[in-house]
């Protein structure tokens, strides 16, 4: 945080700083297991995602064929379904996440290696009451050529009432966005593709964490969750999903480290980066580095939408519009080379 402050200070004082894309990656690649397992009580499908680390400029390599199971404190066990793409579906039929219970996760790889969570994970008992709002903000930024450009952003704010109990609660808010676009159809096309629904993670710059005992009052106002630049994605309806997780102290500490690591701004005042290891361990070789974290938080979702009617600027002349010219119109939206994170399946809540 201080590093970001001071770096901004230097930029302001000099007003001649610049930031360029730079390909600079290390060569010490190792193939370590990654476990992404946030299994909550959210109505959305829950997955354990397994992969191994890959090249710095590529996503991790999905890992299939593993045996994954969750066990609760009463001894109930549920095996997860291997979907064949690195995801393991948690159906919540035998082991159902609820407040007061604790859970552990086991993973057995095809080569026989057995990994287990180091400590039982459970839900935070208390959640905050959230209200989500947005604000359209117009300002000016300076282009890389030094030209001032009018800029319009959507700021997503959180107003929340923290639990009144004196016991500490650890809360985290995550945000993602879903919007839709209709590809432009060529005049000669027999059939035009349907709407694409695009799921997009927003920048990781804002990971919002709260430890309730750090605050004197139960009400937090106008906590900025996200700033999103207005572009063509606001032509039609644009949803922001804000999920509040009530998590364990261990999970809070893990996300605190993630926050520190992902909010680095290149300042000389930033603390040095470091490895974040989670709570999964190879039971035969505890020195093996395993990335990721297994947690079972309580989830509470809030959703808001914005469409072009809220935007006080003209966004019809956008500089990008997907253009469909031929082929199977129904596979167009699912082509990852055309639109990342796209599907033609309308989310049930999308209206």
């Amino acid at each position: 945080m201080i590093g970001r402050f001071l770096l901004a200070g230097l930029f302001v004082i000099l007003a001649v700083g610049c930031k360029d894309r730079f390909e600079f990656v290390g060569t010490g690649l190792k193939h370590n297991l990654i476990v992404d397992a946030t299994l909550s009580n959210s109505p959305d499908p829950q997955y354990v995602k397994l992969s191994t680390t890959g090249d710095a400029r590529r996503p991790p390599v999905p890992l299939t064929g593993a045996l994954v199971w969750i066990t609760d404190n009463t001894g109930n066990t549920e095996y997860m379904q291997d979907l064949g793409d690195g995801r393991y579906l948690y159906r919540r039929t035998q082991v159902i996440p609820h407040v007061g219970a604790s859970y552990s996760l086991d993973i057995q790889l095809p080569d026989g290696k057995h990994y287990q969570s180091t400590a039982a994970e459970g839900m935070g008992k208390q959640q905050a009451m959230d209200e989500i709002s947005f604000e359209i903000v117009k300002d000016q930024i300076v282009s890389s050529e030094g030209v001032p450009i009018d800029n319009t952003n959507v700021n997503i704010y959180l107003n929340t009432t923290l639990p009144k109990e004196s016991a500490v609660s650890y809360l985290r808010w995550a945000i993602d966005e879903v919007y839709t676009i209709k590809p432009t159809c060529a005049p000669f096309a027999i059939e035009c593709p349907p709407y694409c629904f695009i799921y997009q993670d927003v920048s990781t710059a804002n990971i919002t964490l709260v430890k309730t005992t750090d605050y004197t009052q139960p009400r937090l106002e106008r906590v900025l969750l996200q700033t999103r630049n207005v572009d063509y994605t606001f032509m039609v309806r644009h949803f922001f999903n804000v999920t509040q997780y009530a998590q364990s102290e261990a999970a809070y500490q893990y996300w605190k480290k993630v926050q520190l690591l992902t909010q680095r701004t290149g300042s000389l005042f930033d603390p040095p980066p470091a490895l974040i290891t989670g709570n999964m361990v190879n039971i035969n070789d505890p020195t093996e580095v395993v990335y990721g974290f297994f947690e079972v938080p309580a989830a509470r979702l809030n959703r808001i939408y914005i469409d072009r009617g809220f935007i006080p600027v003209d966004i019809t002349n956008c500089d990008w519009s997907p253009f469909y010219y031929a082929g199977n119109p129904y596979s167009y939206c699912t082509n990852p080379f055309a639109i990342k994170g796209s599907t033609i399946e309308r989310p049930p809540w999308f209206f």
């Binding site: 230097l10 730079f22 600079f24 290390g26 992404d36 000016q140 750090d214 701004t265 470091a274």
Partner: protein, 801 residues
């Protein structure tokens, strides 16, 4: 005894014939018509002083024809023996107009010289910090003395002449990057430099986050950097000493000096309160950069504010030519606010009392009492999280230094020093009515340090000279304080906390002490060649707790305590020095090695602020650095300047018992300031009668950093996987600066106009490499950040009247 007799004779002569020398006079002692005995020599003695009567130490006297010279001692006295005859005698000192007079020596004589500042426009460019062959004859190696006149000739960043930036052009000195405060000496940390102003310690020597230093060039007289062997009268830091001296005001007449720049200006007023008795100088610098910020297109920048100021004052009273007191004051402040988001402010205050006495020709004393204070405040204006965080340190220092000289062959410096450090509590408070953050207060440690020292400089023969020093320092961590103890053999953490002990006010908690030998020798191979060897040990009882690559203003100064042991450094150096063509050229090469124990490092994701259990985040390891410094300087002629090359390696090892107490698995790894190759070239050239051109070129290997090796995702967040600490390097750095100074812009006024361009070629040097996840892209992207991404011109007008 010969030396004693010589100085007794000099004393007698001072009481008899005496003349004040000016330029181009003829002094005749005795009668030239009297037949002189063969080999008969006559003594010429006297003092060299500034116009305000202050003695000039190290002024060089040369007798033309004989190629013979000498230099003045600390009280400005000199002594020369000459055969009967006629001579031309020239007195030189850096920044002063040389004095040349003719002598007819047929009897003993006394001449006192009064030197005045050199009118720059009339002089050829001469860069000479000391007596011309001091680099050969001085016993101690690794000493750099620069005069403010000398650094004024270097291209200035934002038009501001800067002591620290000038130092960074010398061999063995580097910095981790632009906009980082302080400097690293021979692979040492920033907090291992004892940075002083008139004997008082400065804990943050920077303005504008390190872009400028807090030394006002209008009031600085000279500075000395000890980077090799540090004399025993200095201590408390493990790497180097930067001793900056401000000057007294003019004892004769009132003067005003100033400079106007685009973002800052400065003014200094000086003159006699009582003529020839009491003088005053007050200097100030202040910035007004907000108009630049308001002109920037970006909304957040327009809503920001940045400013700094500093004030220096010095009141000097001379009771007699042998007794004077001085009271000096310094206050510097920086303020910065970024939009509605955050701000910071830091302030340094220094009050210094000094009493100098010369008891007789052999004994003199300097008594110093200092009160220093550093405070830093960070503001977060972020709605419900709005808060302020303050911390700092205060200290008192008392020091008595006695000097005993016997001729030119012995100089004994000895005395004592007592420092009291009081860490200011860290306090965070809610800021504004909407804030919901908690107030917190974390007390910081206090301690006191007592040291005795003695340093003897003696000449064994014309070939061999020694400096032998010893310092004994004792430090005590004192209450009131609460000390935590942890389970034996376990990693220190809150979960292994075992016991809590409370100590009352001034109660001794922990004592550290030890000897600090300082040795150096000079072997003269010829009159213009010498070899110097040195060893010294230094102990450091106060550290800057800083987890970044560069320190921040809010970083803690932490004194040693039961969990934090003092750093102990052993420095070794050997060097070869040679001058050529009548001291026009200086050449040197030095090899150094340094080992340090108890270097402070940090656990991953260390929480250093507002932490009552700070020791659970700290690690201590050992360091080593070694290298070679090559230096070639041209002192006079049409072109002057220097070329320096430094080969430097600097490593640290943190190898605790438990994996949590290790960094990079306990292996040696490069420090942030490990830069194998650094080249600096500075050049000055006089263009016509009133114009001067200056430039400098800097190249250095990129500093170590950690690089992205892979990545993974947790939910929607892409998490970078980094290499072990400092296993890669950012791109190499190089920069070219130029300046042109036009003297006598207005007729009959002592003024000049300087146009300088910093980073002339607009090179986007990497300040850092970092990674962020772009919106919509699951893979972290690398970015190169440049603080100075283009050429930075500036214009400054300086005036003296």
């Amino acid at each position: 005894m010969v030396g004693v007799g010589k100085w007794l004779l000099a004393g007698l002569l001072l009481l008899s014939t005496c003349a004040i020398a000016q330029q181009n006079k003829v002094f005749t002692f005795g009668d030239s018509t009297v037949v002189q005995p063969a080999n008969r020599k006559y003594s010429l003695t006297g003092r060299v002083v500034y116009v305000d009567g202050k003695p000039i130490a190290g002024a060089a006297l040369f007798v033309d024809g004989l190629k013979y010279g000498n230099s003045t001692d600390l009280s400005g006295r000199y002594f020369i023996q000459l055969p009967a005859g006629k001579y031309r005698l020239t007195v030189r000192h850096l920044g002063m107009a040389p004095l040349t007079n003719r002598l007819a020596m047929y009897a003993n004589g006394v001449i006192n010289f009064e030197m005045s500042e050199k009118p720059e426009a009339l002089e050829e460019v001469v860069i000479r910090a000391r007596k011309e062959d001091d680099n050969i004859k001085e016993v101690v190696g690794g000493v750099t003395k620069l005069n403010i006149t000398e650094i004024k000739r270097l291209p200035a960043f934002m038009g501001e002449v800067d002591v620290i930036k000038s130092i960074q052009l010398l061999p063995g000195i580097n910095t981790v990057g632009e906009g980082s405060s302080g400097f690293n000496v021979r692979g040492g940390r920033i907090d291992q430099n004892l940075i002083m102003m008139d004997g008082g310690q400065i804990f943050n020597s920077s303005h504008a986050l390190g872009l400028l230093s807090n030394y006002n060039p209008d009031v600085v007289e000279e500075f000395t950097l000890y980077k090799g062997n540090v004399p025993a009268q200095f201590g408390g830091r493990a790497s180097s000493v930067l001793d900056v001296r401000t000057r007294s005001g003019n004892f004769d007449s009132w003067k005003v000096k100033g400079g106007i720049g685009l973002i800052s200006s400065r003014i200094a007023v000086e003159g006699p309160i009582i003529k020839d008795k009491t003088s005053l100088i007050v200097g100030s610098r202040f910035s007004y950069s907000d108009w630049v910020l308001k002109a920037v297109g970006e909304t957040d920048v327009r809503k920001s504010s940045a400013s700094f100021y500093d004030i220096n004052g010095n009141l000097t009273h001379k009771f007699s030519s042998k007794n004077q007191i001085a009271l000096s004051l310094y206050q510097g402040n920086d303020y910065f606010r970024f939009s509605d988001e955050f701000g910071y402010e830091y302030t340094t205050r220094l009050l210094n009392f000094k009493w100098k006495s010369i008891f007789n020709d052999h004994w003199s004393s300097t008594l110093t009492a200092v009160s220093g204070n550093y405070e830093s405040k960070l503001y977060d204006f972020n709605q419900t999280a709005a808060r302020s965080l303050t911390n700092g340190i205060g200290y008192y220092q008392f020091k008595e230094t006695l000097l005993h000289t016997i001729g030119e062959s012995h100089a004994l410096t000895f005395g004592g020093e007592y420092n009291i450090y009081n860490g200011k509590p860290e306090i965070t408070r809610p800021f504004g009515n909407n804030s919901t953050t908690l107030s917190q207060r974390v007390e910081k440690d206090s301690g006191h340090e007592l040291a005795f020292f003695a340093n003897e400089e003696f000449t064994l023969s014309p070939v061999i000279s020694f400096t032998a020093g010893i310092r004994y320092s004792m430090y005590q961590n004192i209450g009131a304080d609460t000390v935590y103890s942890y389970q034996q053999g376990q990693v220190k953490s809150v979960s292994t906390l075992q016991d809590t002990t409370y100590y009352g006010k001034n109660q001794n908690i922990q004592t550290y002490q030890g000897w600090e030998p300082r040795l150096s020798a000079r072997i003269s191979l010829t009159a213009d060649k010498s070899i110097k060897i040195s060893y010294n040990r230094m102990r450091q009882y106060i550290q800057l707790i800083s987890n970044g690559t560069a320190p921040t203003p809010i970083d803690l100064w932490q004194v040693c305590n039961p969990h934090l042991q003092p750093q102990i450094a052993d420095n070794y150096a050997i060097g070869y020095f040679q001058n050529a063509r009548d001291n026009m050229f200086e050449l040197s090469g030095e090899v150094f090695y340094k080992s340090t124990s108890n270097l402070v490092e940090y656990k991953d994701f260390a929480q250093l602020l507002l932490n009552r259990h700070l020791e659970t985040e700290l690690l201590q390891g050992r360091g080593k650095s070694y290298g070679i410094e090559l230096y070639a300087k041209k002192n006079s002629g049409g072109w002057t300047g220097w070329v320096s090359y430094t080969f430097l390696r600097s490593f640290i090892q943190v190898n605790g018992i438990h994996p949590e107490e290790q960094v990079n698995q306990g292996n040696w790894y490069p420090t942030n300031y490990d830069k194998p190759h650094t080249i600096n070239i500075t050049a000055n050239h006089k263009l016509g009668k009133n114009m001067r051109f200056a430039s400098n070129f800097t190249y250095s290997t990129g500093r170590p950093t950690s690089a992205l090796e892979s990545n993974y995702r947790a939910g929607s967040v892409a998490i970078p996987i980094y290499s072990e600490r400092n296993q890669y390097r950012i791109p190499d750095y190089w920069r070219l600066d130029v300046s042109i100074t036009l003297n006598s812009v207005l007729k009959k006024v002592d003024d000049n106009l300087t146009f300088s361009v910093y980073n002339l070629l607009g090179r986007r040097n990497a300040y850092s490499i970092y990674y962020q996840q772009p919106a919509g892209d699951p893979i972290p992207q690398g970015y190169k950040l440049s603080i100075l991404g283009s050429a930075l011109p500036s214009l400054t007008y300086n005036l003296t009247f």
